[in-house]
Symmetry: C2
Subunit: 573 residues, 2 copies
């Protein structure tokens, strides 16, 4: 209640003349006026007055309340389609229809019109449902700070679906007060020809920002990523190498072959029910693309590969049958020379499947926690994440966590797939496409230690609160190495501050989940005067491996293993 | 034969006037003259002439031959005492007595006199046996380069005991030609009081350079370290925390206790024979002190700890009983929460033993290769290395490899020893002795990736050969992570060159030995003109972890985990 009242108070405090005018104009129409008054009750007047006097201070308090709220895991949902006409709506329910209702007193704009208004110079427009809103003057006072700019020139629907705190009458009122028009929407027409391998791609959450559409590769906004210890399935980055196959539970079959070179040769198959009947094992594991943070490395010198930000990673609880149980049941014994090859149902144009391999020692080790997963955060896998079975190889680069798993081979050699042999390998910074010899480097398995600042975002204007700013992000290391420490600096390394960690209590060597971290980072008066600040994050893992300082000396032609310090420049306000 | 002749040739080419005069003078005495002529046989004249014409080129060829030879493992021996008077000596045997024979024609000097002559300005003197030699003008032409300066003002005996290629008539002749006197030697008197805990310290090899004498802590010259894939036992760094205990094989007893909190409690003992009767397991493992390379970190800001160079590491074949076999025989089962505590027979002044612990998961894992070692490179352990039993915990910081092991406890807690709780932990660079909380950091177990340049040494004058210089060193990572690559640069990272690796063919995750590396590093004409060159080495392990670039951002108050790039400035000639 206190929060809600302050929202109203702060709203009025923060409105420019134009908005105040609009609010009054809108309020003049009976229903709005009535609701508005309902939220200015007598009992809150003292508080309202205090807030009016407190001014900016109250705004900061609100900011932190919202910030605290944002750090709670929230349920994600795709925006709902409009429901049938409501009967006997109450006031708040009515407000929830405004953005779905055409305002005949206002002009109509196309999405292209809106897109042109994505910065302060041009004005900042957003859409919600079919409403178009001019939030130019409100944006600097947005309690969530510059995060509003993620939607500039675009729809706020997917953000509000997650940040449910917007879904209150106060906020809906405020938004409607910015309304300038209606959106003329043409539904996108799917142009897939029948029979195209891309014809059956699944629908994706609108917040996943594609690095490529075919195959689909996309990451969520990292400020959201850092808010959930278990990444919501819909926000989990998607890395597809090929079109997504369509597999029904009934038709699914997994083949397991032990090749002649790998002991007593054998072959058997499992259907989905048989896999689900095996003892169920749950493991928390972050999965990270080998190219995560490539876009930062590219700034040094161009590389070949999708331009991933820092969001090509996610952390989830995976459940399924343990591969070590399956292999031991087939009589597979430890042998340092053997590999386990995985093949997916996703096929390249020559009908070869996606493939990868890991050492048998990892597959057989109960502490390796390799699972044939059919669940992700308690839900069946989605098609994009490998339905019905994906192998989860905790601590190992995403590329070995083969989706739509249809074949496992125990062999005396690695997978001969392109992705195992000629991709996902590291080289010296001076190796170029003329001199590279993929046969000379080891396929990436365990990943090195890394971290990222999820908030604030680059160029974000950050409010200084009592000499501090709030910074949060994630850190992770491969091979089951726990994160020992995350250090932050905002003075180029002269002073380092240790962040607070949120992590599972798993033992080292088996700590496959990521760690979230947060810190109230001190800012000096001198820094406030300069207004621009660069924040660096560096993580240290349980083997006391530390991130390298810069990308210059770890640059590699494929842009993988981009784990240098994460550096974010922000503006202080 | 070819090498020997060229040595003679090159010797004459490289002699200054003063030396040539001396050589002739010495040769005038019958025996020397005769031997000298024996090594100028007619058959070699053409080669001799060619070398004379070839001049410097021949010198470089020789340098590389010697260099190649040096990279072969050699037998180490302490310098032998003079034997009884020889009968019927042949010429070479006679030459081997010169440095043990007083020259009545020359003056006598004290070791202090010699010590004053340790650089070109003062003249460079060395001693060998009781001979004193002025090698000032020879030093720049020494085929082994500036390594001769390791003995400047000091004895060459321990070096020649290792570099056996000096032990030829040619070289002995050359040395004798530089003789300027006899050494007046007073044997050091051991002042240990009877009953002192230090009274029974073992004798150490003269090449081990102490960082502290009591307790004894010493490392070998790193240029020698990088020459032997298996570090000779006598050169293996010694890290003692307390006086060395005296334990006889007969009296030795190892106690194994499983505490109540750690399953079914039990207690048993093993004598040395019983341990030796268990299946013998051999593992190659590098052991590295947590403070290795601390002296480099100290340059940024002082730290507390012994000033180790890069030589607090060694690589050996260790053999003994596997701890996992011993524990499983006692019914110990995997449990992620348990620790294995080790206690040594070395006692602090309050009679508490040195102690450390590791997770049970490491101890029980057959791939962890933890052994109760009684052999080091095929020899029984020496007292300094833990006779009769030391636990070897491959991939883990030296401090957990407890020597003189007398007690093993399986417990639900770590060792409560000072060294586990309040030492050997890493902190942020801004943590100082006022703010440090040892309870908040994890005890170092697996070590991070590191490397060092063993040759050339800092400030060494290095000969450029056809636009290249030879550089070699070691690299290692903890946790069984294989070294994937070592990159070198001599232009501040603009170009990186990949070194050639020498390593065992052990699988990743179980690759506990170090890797030696070497490279012929290109030097540009421009760099040759500037004469000074800085070489950087950085290693990458199998998890693609890489060394941090500089010490500034990994500095910690105890100076541990000093694994930044190794940077060596040399002078080109």
């Amino acid at each position: 209640m206190r929060l809600r009242l302050l929202t109203t108070a702060s709203k009025q405090l923060s409105l420019g003349n134009r908005q105040r005018h609009r609010l009054l104009a809108t309020s003049a129409s009976g229903q709005h006026q009535q609701e508005h008054q309902e939220y200015q009750p007598g009992g809150s007047r003292a508080l309202y007055a205090a807030a009016a006097v407190g001014g900016i201070g109250a705004g900061y308090w609100l900011f932190h309340e919202l910030d605290k709220k944002r750090r709670q895991p929230v349920e994600l949902a795709q925006p709902q389609k409009a429901t049938s006409s409501p009967v006997a709506l109450d006031v708040e329910e009515a407000a929830r229809l405004w953005h779905k209702t055409k305002r005949t007193d206002l002009p109509t704009y196309s999405t292209e019109d809106v897109l042109k208004h994505d910065k302060p110079d041009t004005g900042i427009w957003v859409t919600y449902g079919i409403g178009v809103y001019d939030v130019t003057e409100f944006a600097p006072n947005h309690p969530g700070g510059d995060k509003i700019m993620m939607a500039a020139g675009n729809a706020i629907d997917p953000f509000w679906a997650i940040y449910q705190q917007h879904n209150t009458l106060d906020v809906l009122e405020l938004l409607e007060s910015f309304r300038i028009g209606n959106l003329y929407k043409v539904e996108a027409i799917e142009n897939d020809e029948l029979g195209s391998p891309w014809a059956q791609e699944p629908k994706r959450h609108e917040l996943l920002k594609p690095a490529s559409k075919r195959p689909f590769n996309a990451e969520p906004p990292i400020s959201m990523l850092g808010e959930h210890f278990y990444t919501p399935n819909e926000l989990f980055y998607v890395r597809n190498h090929l079109p997504v196959p369509c597999i029904s539970a009934e038709d699914y079959e997994l083949e397991l072959e032990v090749e002649a070179g790998a002991g007593k040769s054998s072959k058997c198959t499992f259907n989905l029910d048989e896999i689900k009947k095996l003892p169920k094992h749950t493991v928390t594991a972050a999965i990270m693309c080998g190219g995560n943070r490539r876009s930062e490395m590219t700034r040094i010198k161009p590389v070949k590969g999708l331009s991933w930000g820092a969001g090509a990673v996610g952390n989830a609880k995976w459940a399924g049958a343990r591969l070590c149980d399956v292999l031991r049941a087939q009589g597979v014994e430890p042998d340092e020379h053997l590999q386990v090859i995985f093949e997916g149902a996703d096929l390249d144009p020559t009908a070869h499947p996606y493939g990868a391999s890991i050492p048998l020692s990892k597959a057989l080790d109960p502490r390796g926690d390799v699972v044939l997963a059919y669940e992700m955060n308690g839900q069946p896998l989605t098609r994009d994440h490998g339905y019905p079975i994906r192998v989860i190889v905790p601590g190992t680069v995403g590329a070995r966590n083969v989706k739509w798993l249809t074949r496992i081979v125990v062999a005396d050699h690695e997978s001969d797939s392109h992705w195992q042999q000629n991709d996902y390998k590291g080289f010296s910074p001076s190796t170029d496409w003329d001199t590279v010899d993929f046969g000379k480097a080891q396929a990436i398995q365990a990943m090195p230690v890394t971290s990222a600042i999820c908030s604030p975002m680059p160029e974000e204007r950050v409010k200084v609160d009592k000499g501090h700013i709030t910074v949060y992000g994630y850190a992770w290391s491969g091979g089951g190495r726990r994160i020992e420490r995350v250090d932050l600096t905002n003075d180029g390394g002269k002073t380092w501050h240790v962040a607070k960690l949120e992590q599972e209590n798993e033992p080292d060597g088996r700590h496959y989940g990521w760690s979230l971290w947060s810190i109230r980072l001190p800012v000096t008066d001198e820094q406030q005067k300069q207004s621009e600040l660069e924040i660096w994050a560096k993580a240290v893992d349980s083997a006391y491996n530390v991130q390298p300082e810069s990308f210059e000396n770890i640059w590699n032609l494929r842009g993988v293993l981009a784990n240098a310090y994460h550096k974010v420049k922000v503006k202080l306000i």
